[in-house]
């Protein structure tokens, strides 16, 4: 059995080092194809595009019927708008592009009209959650002291 590694950056994010994936996201049904930074978060079940990135990617959330309310990073309530079959493209350690389809992710937006909460929610990063790691059989290796992070996929 061999393995393929996807290098991650270790960046200071909200006060401490975090593993970050640089990727593009393609959402064919909405004609979205953009670059995106995602914080790999094993504390999140789901992959969530942050309210800031939902705005920047110009995802037309009003057209999405399937929704769920959850508590996002920092405890602020957000609505997740379901997006099926988004395609992520990122580099492996040989810098070749790897394409992975996420069967379900969410674009998020706050439901609160409180200005302070809206502004705080807009500062949150996008998150690559455990569901994506499970779907693609990725293992996360994260050594913040030595600034090493990568995803590893076992290949038969």
């Amino acid at each position: 059995m061999s393995s393929i590694r996807i290098p991650l950056k270790v960046e200071s994010l909200i006060g401490s080092p975090k593993p970050v994936l640089y990727t593009t996201i393609h959402i064919p049904q909405f004609h979205v194809f953009k670059p995106l930074k995602m914080f790999v978060d094993t504390g999140s079940s789901w992959t969530m595009i942050s309210p800031k990135d939902t705005l920047l990617l110009q995802i037309p959330i009003s057209k999405i019927r399937e929704r769920k309310t959850s508590y996002g990073v920092g405890g602020a309530p957000v609505i997740g708008y379901a997006i099926k079959n988004a395609v992520f493209a990122f580099r492996n350690e040989e810098r070749k592009l790897v394409y992975k389809v996420a069967s379900l992710i969410y674009a998020s937006q706050t439901e609160k009209r409180d200005r302070e909460i809206m502004e705080r929610v807009l500062t949150f990063p996008s998150i690559l959650g455990v569901e994506f790691l499970m779907e693609h059989k990725y293992k996360l290796v994260f050594d913040p002291f030595n600034s090493i992070a990568y995803l590893e996929e076992s290949v038969l």
Binding site: F33, K34, G43, V73, T123
Partner: protein, 78 residues
């Protein structure tokens, strides 16, 4: 634009931001910054105002990295 090109630009902007994070933190803490070609081309506390400024300058947002510079009061427990 191809994925390779988008990734190259995102990585270049991200690498530059990380390399200069301390000085950017000192200047722009609690603000959104827009990074392009090794420079902060715009900054504002309000994301929508920043986006209006960038679009009025005809900036291609695919070539710009927009990040919030969190102050030390932010502490998130996951």
């Amino acid at each position: 634009m191809e994925a390779q090109v988008l990734l190259d630009r995102l990585e270049a902007n991200g690498n530059w931001l990380n390399k200069h994070y301390k000085e950017i933190y000192e200047k722009y803490v609690d603000e959104f910054v827009a990074v392009k070609e090794e420079d902060v081309i715009a900054h504002n506390q309000n994301l929508e105002v920043l986006l209006k400024e960038l679009t009025s300058r005809n900036e291609d947002l695919n070539e710009v990295l927009i990040e919030f510079i969190h102050g030390k009061q932010y502490n998130i427990i996951l």
